[in-house]
Subunit: 143 residues, 2 copies
């Protein structure tokens, strides 16, 4: 049931790289970073290890910016600020209340709140059954 993991040096390096920064890095950044320590590491290995880390809960995705998924080693949910010019993602730990904050110089254009969870239809349906089905690439049809 519980998969035993080898905890290869590659996996450790990936997790370490993600935890070493607060820039919410992309796969490309992580790859470049890890390559300085393990020059031979391949992109596929980065992807696969990020996936494992996410399943383990040691890494979360903070969304897609400019076509690249961005990751965080701080897994506790917290607000972020995304610069629409350069793509920087900044942690916002002490959530300000006004719309027009200027947190450390960050000027807010718009604010988006997203709740993640389970909708009525999926709540009703058998959990495991629909869960698997719904996660299939082409399976779902958001109607």
């Amino acid at each position: 049931m519980h998969k035993t993991h080898n905890n290869s040096k590659q996996r450790k390096a990936v997790l370490e790289a993600i935890r070493s920064t607060d820039t919410h890095p992309s796969v490309r950044w992580i790859h470049e970073q890890v390559k300085t320590k393990l020059p031979g590491i391949s992109l596929g290995t980065i992807y696969r290890n990020i996936k494992v880390c996410r399943e383990e809960g040691s890494v979360v995705s903070v969304g897609v910016v400019n076509n690249e998924e961005r990751f965080d080693g701080i897994v506790e949910p917290h607000p972020h600020a995304v610069c629409t010019k350069c793509g920087r993602i900044i942690d916002i730990d002490d959530l300000p209340e006004a719309e027009n904050i200027h947190l450390s110089g960050f000027t807010v254009d718009k604010r988006r709140t997203v709740f993640y969870g389970t909708c009525v239809q999926c709540c009703r349906a058998g959990k495991n059954l629909l869960a698997q089905f719904g996660r299939l690439r082409k399976g779902f049809s958001h109607n």
Copy 2:
């Protein structure tokens, strides 16, 4: 300066399709929907018209769910709920305060707030100059 738009029937149909639903449709959905009225319309045209509509401000993106960008004809920012099982995106107009809401049956797992705007570095830099540069696909490097 101000581009004159033809407002082709294709463009109208795309905008109409997006406005016809509250499901925050994907390109695929929009294409299928518009094809029932304009069977010959191509995917590229859907993409190009969505782009124009976004630049005009008549359509906004509400994010990427399961690899597909999702759009909204209601351009005023408002919170959304994303079902992690089936990918549904639901409008939340009356924002509840607690974490454990059960709005119309939607059970919240986690909540994410994202601010979009301009970071210090980009604020300092000349607006137009860096703005263009920063938006380039490969140009930026979120450090």
